[in-house]
């Protein structure tokens, strides 16, 4: 009786201890296990398509067992996953995190393997920079690029007596259109993200559009330039729309997900976000295609005015073995880049995506050169299912605008400092924009000095 009781306790303890043990998953049949990111919540068709790609890869690389793991970058969970070592071996991150991940050695150095790829030197120079270490070695691979755009609701434009085919081309026109929409439809004419670091992201976008920059780099040092004429002009413009025109609605705590939700629901006339946002709006927010319009972010008449650009990087988890790094780069090449560089892969990917009712043909910027980008658009032309005509105000002019990369130093922390600034301007009639910017600038400088 006693011995069986002791055995039970020992067994329970052993189970508890072994249950807690972690480590790299093992591949089946003695193969090398490679966990790779797959978007969470995909429809069955999309999962099947992904699995088909996995099978295809495993056929070409019989020594690798690819194990899909649900993952999508999220600022609030990414760091915990990174620290906890629970990310897939191959995952994606935004351009803003590239340099930081490399400097902190939080990703594996894959530059040796990447250099062997046939198109390694063909990346668009400004895009490639996001994944390069200080010495130019590419440790994170750019897989998608975007420029910011002004999204608008064509139905609200029509209801407000505006021509949806002639969207605003200047910030003065944005303001007057917003006022007209708010007065005639009762909805927010123009809305802006302000929470979860997106407030800083969009404020930096407008700062760029007005000709400003949020930081100045000089060798290893960086100077915060938040309290500038351009940034003050941006905040003044927001204050005017909010308090003089009352054209910004009633919600001033939007993040990326909630502003998309309200835009798709027809509660917002215009807002600024990534140019390729249509796919998310359609898949996650049930946007009606006929409501959608997109145009370029209006730029001030200044030589320094530009469009903030960003994108996604594919990386390999830190502390991965040489074999995992090698297999990981092969997967990046196969899954993310071959559809941008090879016709058969581009067509197969577009076909699968269209068959799973996801958007094909949303505007995007070239990861490689413009000629290859245009070539790819032709390859997938028959599967394009987005309202191309309604996107022309953007696609006709997006390459003509100067693209300026996002700030590279402490980017997300600086964005976080700007969230309360824009929130204060939109929720406090008496907010002193200059004082707020001065405070944010000194805090940002302290961050930049710590690096």
């Amino acid at each position: 009786m006693k011995s069986s009781r002791i055995s039970a306790v020992v067994l329970t303890t052993a189970l508890a201890v072994t249950g807690c043990a972690g480590g790299e998953p093992e591949g089946s049949g003695g193969r090398l296990a490679l966990t790779v990111a797959i978007d969470p919540g995909l429809e069955k068709g999309a999962v099947d398509a992904f699995n088909a790609r996995v099978a295809e890869f495993e056929k070409a690389h019989p020594d690798v067992d690819v194990q899909p793991q649900e993952y999508k970058w999220d600022a609030t969970t990414f760091t915990a996953q990174l620290a906890g070592g629970t990310l897939p071996a191959v995952f994606t991150a935004p351009f803003t995190d590239g340099r930081g991940l490399i400097e902190r050695r939080q990703i594996a150095d894959i530059s040796g393997e990447v250099a062997k790829l046939p198109y390694a030197k063909g990346f668009n120079a400004s895009v490639a920079k996001a994944g390069q270490a200080a010495d130019g070695a590419m440790q994170a691979v750019p897989i998608a690029a975007y420029g910011q755009a002004l999204h608008y609701n064509r139905t609200l434009f029509t209801q407000a007596g505006l021509d949806p085919d002639k969207p605003p081309a200047t910030w003065a026109e944005v303001r007057s259109a917003a006022k007209q929409i708010a007065e005639r439809t009762g909805q927010a004419g123009y809305a802006q993200m302000t929470a979860g670091n997106t407030g800083g992201w969009i404020l930096a976008t407008l700062d760029y559009a007005f000709g400003g920059r949020v930081e100045q780099l000089s060798g290893d040092s960086a100077k915060s330039t938040l309290n500038t004429d351009e940034m003050r002009a941006v905040l003044k413009s927001l204050q005017d729309m909010r308090w003089a025109d009352n054209s910004m609605g009633a919600n001033f705590l939007y993040d990326w997900a909630t502003i998309n939700q309200d835009f798709a629901a027809g509660r917002i006339g215009m807002y600024v976000s990534g140019g390729g946002n249509y796919g998310s709006l359609k898949a996650q927010n049930a946007l009606k295609a006929e409501d959608y319009g997109i145009t370029t972010v209006p730029l001030a008449d200044k030589g320094t005015a530009g469009v903030l650009g960003g994108g996604s990087l594919a990386v390999v988890r830190a502390k991965s073995s040489a074999a995992v790094v090698s297999a990981g780069v092969k997967w990046i090449d196969f899954y993310y880049l071959s559809k941008l560089t090879a016709q058969d892969q581009a067509v197969a990917d577009a076909k699968t995506t269209a068959e799973s009712s996801q958007a094909v043909g949303s505007p995007e910027l070239p990861v490689f050169d413009r000629a290859l980008h245009d070539q790819r658009r032709q390859w997938i032309a028959q599967y394009v299912n987005v309202p191309v005509q309604q996107m022309k105000p953007y696609t006709d002019r997006m390459f003509a605008q100067p693209l300026v990369p996002e700030p590279t130093r402490s980017t997300q922390q600086v964005y976080a400092l700007l969230d309360p600034v824009v929130q204060a301007v939109l929720t406090d009639r008496n907010a002193d924009a200059t004082a707020l910017l001065a405070q944010a600038e000194s805090q940002a400088q302290a961050l930049l000095d710590r690096k």
């Binding site: 006693k2 009781r5 002791i6 306790v9 020992v10 329970t12 303890t13 508890a16 201890v17 807690c20 970058w73 600022a75 609030t76 969970t77 990414f78 760091t79 915990a80 990174l82 620290a83 906890g84 991150a93 935004p94 803003t96 995190d97 930081g100 991940l101 902190r104 050695r105 939080q106 302000t194 929470a195 979860g196 670091n197 609605g249 009633a250 919600n251 001033f252 705590l253 993040d255 830190a318 502390k319 997300q412 922390q413 976080a416 969230d419 309360p420 600034v421 929130q423 204060a424 939109l426 929720t427 406090d428 907010a431």
Partner: protein, 316 residues
């Protein structure tokens, strides 16, 4: 068994030990007990004590949890104490605690006293009062976000509109955001406290009320002079528990406002979270753990006060 115990000894006499093989029996049961305790030690060790120890160590380090940590002494504590947001967060947390005492503390007591007066369907009212506790907190917050919609079509603003009152910005205004959070959290947590008060009210001797009635006491006088003194112990316990609970408020500001607008609802726990997680590159774990330790010390002092009070009440 002794018969010469000192007069003030109150402990019950120990049962006589069995006469046969006392040593081996004790050793055997001790080993079994230890083995049975092992899973508990493993679970507590891995999920409670080890993280607490790691927190203390990490508060003295600079680390991104990938590279080898660097010992930085008390730098993290200095960083936190020099952060202007710490004082904003402390002020906000105290403001939340004060509003919670003002709104959230008396509300369940009033409700419990009223329900205690009801003779019929008391069970139904208890169930209704407890219902919000059953609703998952995240669901409750999402629900209340609709109620607090700052547009004219938000639920509360629609009701205000019936009386000709202009829409209120609720969560979108620095002046009303914290009050809005307290109202929701009061609604969400009140049910449990109501049940505690109702149970305590059943222990109030009815003859006290009868005596008060004979003396011509009004309802208010009965509540003031009979009910409240009789609930004194429970009221003090819930008071301390509420202070400890409000010092750790996180869910409401995190889900409703993210600390906004303009940090008007950033609380200490939310600040700790932001230190560690707001930056996607792994924020300042050292600062986060340093502030966690400081908060833990304050809460430990409050807990000590709580134990001291409860001990004195239990012996009084």
């Amino acid at each position: 068994m002794t018969t010469t115990a000192p007069p003030r000894q109150v402990a019950p006499p120990r049962p006589a030990r069995p006469a046969s093989h006392p040593r081996s029996r004790r050793r055997g049961s001790g080993l079994a007990a230890l083995l049975f305790l092992l899973p508990m030690f493993a679970v507590f060790g891995v999920f409670s004590w080890l993280p607490i120890l790691q927190t203390a160590v990490m508060s003295l380090q600079q680390t991104n949890l990938v590279d080898t940590p660097e010992f930085v002494g008390l730098d993290n504590f200095v960083t936190v104490l020099n952060d202007p947001l710490l004082w904003t967060a402390t002020r906000n947390t105290l403001w939340f605690a004060f509003l919670a005492l003002l709104i959230g503390y008396p509300a369940p007591l009033v409700l419990a006293v009223l329900m205690n007066e009801v003779r019929r369907l008391r069970g139904l009212y208890s169930a209704l009062a407890y219902l919000p506790v059953v609703v998952p907190p995240v669901v409750a917050v999402l629900l209340w976000k609709f109620f607090y919609d700052a547009g004219p079509h938000g639920l509360f603003n629609t009701v205000l509109g019936w009386f000709g009152v202009a829409p209120v910005a609720w969560l979108q205004d620095g002046g009303t955001a914290m009050v809005s959070l307290v109202v929701e959290s009061t609604w969400a947590a009140m049910g449990g406290t109501v049940i505690i008060y109702l149970a305590a009210l059943t222990r109030v001797p009815p003859e006290l009320y009868e005596a008060a009635e004979i003396d011509g006491a009004s309802v208010w006088h009965k509540v003031w002079h009979v009910t409240l003194p009789q609930l004194r112990g429970v009221l003090l316990i819930t008071f301390i528990l509420q202070i400890v609970g409000t010092a750790q408020v996180f869910l409401e500001p995190f889900l409703f406002t993210g600390g906004g607008p303009a940090n008007k609802t950033t609380t200490i726990l939310l600040l700790i979270y932001n230190y560690a997680f707001a930056s996607s590159l792994g924020g300042d774990y050292g600062a986060a753990t340093a502030l966690s330790l400081m908060l833990a010390v304050v809460l430990a002092l409050l807990s000590a006060l709580y134990f001291r009070l409860t001990r004195s009440w239990s012996t009084s």
